[in-house]
Symmetry: C2
Subunit: 322 residues, 2 copies
DNA sequence: TCCCTTATAGTCAAACGGATTATAATTGGA
DNA sequence: TCCAATTATAATCCGTTTGACTATAAGGGA
């Protein structure tokens, strides 16, 4: 089981011991009342995290442990996002390497017994330009667009100017292009690169005039959240993961509102219902909901059998492409 | 930049130092003459790999270094696959934790200057049941199906029998279900779980009668390859990554054969051409190829501009769904 | 009772996608 | 030289999907 025939210098390295610290870090999502929320600690600027330690049976169980300890929230669905090497830290005596393994976790917010040090925040506080449920957010055209154009024009090379403008146009859907909700990470990288957002505790110039208003996070946590949003927006279209965020029984409109919250855009109601029903993702409970007004709606529950049938094959949700 | 407010015991752990070894491991792919190949070292049963060390600027550059050193092959496109904790190793003095970060890399096989200790193998040697380009492989119905049914029936619980049969049927497309080429990992996990394949150096019973004939790999390397194949088969459908595997100029049929090699199934020629052309993924070089027979074909090259245009937006390849 | 809100059903047309057929341009051999 | 085989390229067909829209049903509140 030891793979030692993979090169001489590998053994050398194994002996000298290039050991690193491993951090586990969680982007925990719940949707409450039509708002997609992220679980934070500290000043609502930090994701739950902790080092991978000897007592952990596995990476995932280590992550569960840290999140539960720091927030009081047990995790359901977990999926790995990305592993990256942090900038070098200075250890006690020698240079210290560290890597972080980030995860996306879905949960229900109920019984918010969570410890007082933690809290749920709408993820759109950190990414105001990502919520298109009420049309294009004003900040996009009023603030982001001019500043990104400014940023593009601030370089001398004409080719690079064009490239920057095109990147911005594609990511944000400027110039009659369509908004693509899955490009959350690219958009964050653009605004970050353009210096339009800054993170908590960064050494950056804090006095810079009128950045794009948005809530910062510690270190690269906001980047992890952007990665997770993008992954989730993509995944809900082909896997029945939304139901991890729903209560036991729900109306079709509640389900639609949840998908809309995640996607950050509205969905055509009849089409949504058609797709849900023809895929037999849900079944009626027989009851109806006493509602906030209007005709009572049938209550449905997730058909757990589909996890055997299609966990593998693929689901569809009608998040319009524009 | 230090995130220390994330819990008291985190600091404790940081002090006591739960340090782990990190291995970088590469699944390197090239397509030669219609065969999808994996780069191996050792007895064609080991993927290039090496520890992440202090001198590496980043995870990716560490990976590039190891692969180049062990095989002589420079890497082009690289994408992270998955990070997992290995089973505990016994270190020199104390228990030793190790994690592996696996990558998918695409390259062209040319100038196979590679060191003598490495070689390219068709990945279908390791997964004979994955190649459906000449129809359903006999091994699937003749060997795998009966043995998987056997395996399913070998448990007492009726519900578990049904679940096993259903898993097998879905993954392999038994009982009139369609073959889904993206389920490579699930299929490997099934045959592994059913004890139908064994890996090199595993402590398993080697004398077990007539396993499914396939080439084994060291440790969990074959599992990594299965993960990479699945990722690649999925990715070619929405990102123009195939071109990383193509020479400078190529005919449309060569392009199609490459996609077919990866997908393990045939594609309808007119539809393939239509999709490639209407997406403007390629442009004519003006030349034509002197061919192996038949009317000469136009030569095309990849329109690198699409990397700016659609790297983000999504490409389509007509790999039929069945 | 009227009106507002929401649920639910049904329709329509355009786009997409898979399959098939037809025609053109070569090479190699009878 | 002509024919057969092979490949390239163009065009068509048709069923399904999907986005947008309309109509009707069923409740609550003023």
């Amino acid at each position: 089981m030891d793979d030692q025939e993979t090169g001489a210098s590998k053994d050398r390295a194994a002996v000298t011991g290039d050991e690193v610290k491993v951090d586990l870090i969680a982007f925990v999502v719940a949707v409450n009342d039509g708002e997609p929320c992220v679980l934070t600690i500290g000043q609502a600027d930090t994701l739950p995290s902790g080092p991978f330690a000897l007592e952990h049976r596995s990476l995932q169980s280590g992550l569960r442990g840290w999140v539960e300890q720091q927030t009081g929230h047990p995790l359901g669905y977990i999926e790995q996002l990305y592993t990256f090497a942090d900038r070098d830290r200075v250890g006690a005596e020698r240079r210290q390497r560290a890597i972080s393994i980030s995860y996306l976790a879905l949960t229900r917010m109920e019984k918010a017994s969570g410890s007082p040090k933690c809290g749920w925040r709408s993820w759109y506080e950190y990414f105001p330009w990502e919520d298109h449920r009420s049309g294009t957010p004003p900040v996009l055209l009023d603030v982001l667009r001019p500043r990104l154009i400014e940023w593009a024009n601030s370089v001398d090379d004409a080719a690079m100017r064009r490239e920057r403008r095109q990147r911005a146009a594609m990511a944000f859907g400027f110039d009659d292009r369509h908004w693509n909700e899955e490009l959350t990470l690219q958009r964050y990288e653009l605004v970050y690169e353009a210096g339009l957002v800054q993170e908590a505790g960064s050494g950056r110039d804090t006095t810079r005039a009128s950045l794009v208003p948005s809530k910062p996070m510690v270190a690269d946590h906001r980047r992890i959240v952007a990665t997770g949003i993008a992954r989730l927006r993509s995944k809900i279209k082909y896997r029945p993961v939304v139901f991890e965020l729903m209560p036991q029984s729900f109306t079709l409109l509640q389900l639609q509102r949840t998908v809309e919250a995640l996607a950050g855009r509205l969905i055509n109601k009849p089409n949504f219902r058609r797709l849900i029903e023809q895929q037999e993702l849900v079944e009626e409970t027989g009851e109806t909901s006493v509602d906030t007004g209007g005709r009572p709606a049938r209550l449905y529950r997730f058909r757990h059998a589909v996890l055997d049938e299609t966990a593998i094959v693929g689901t569809k949700l009608p998040v319009a492409r524009g």
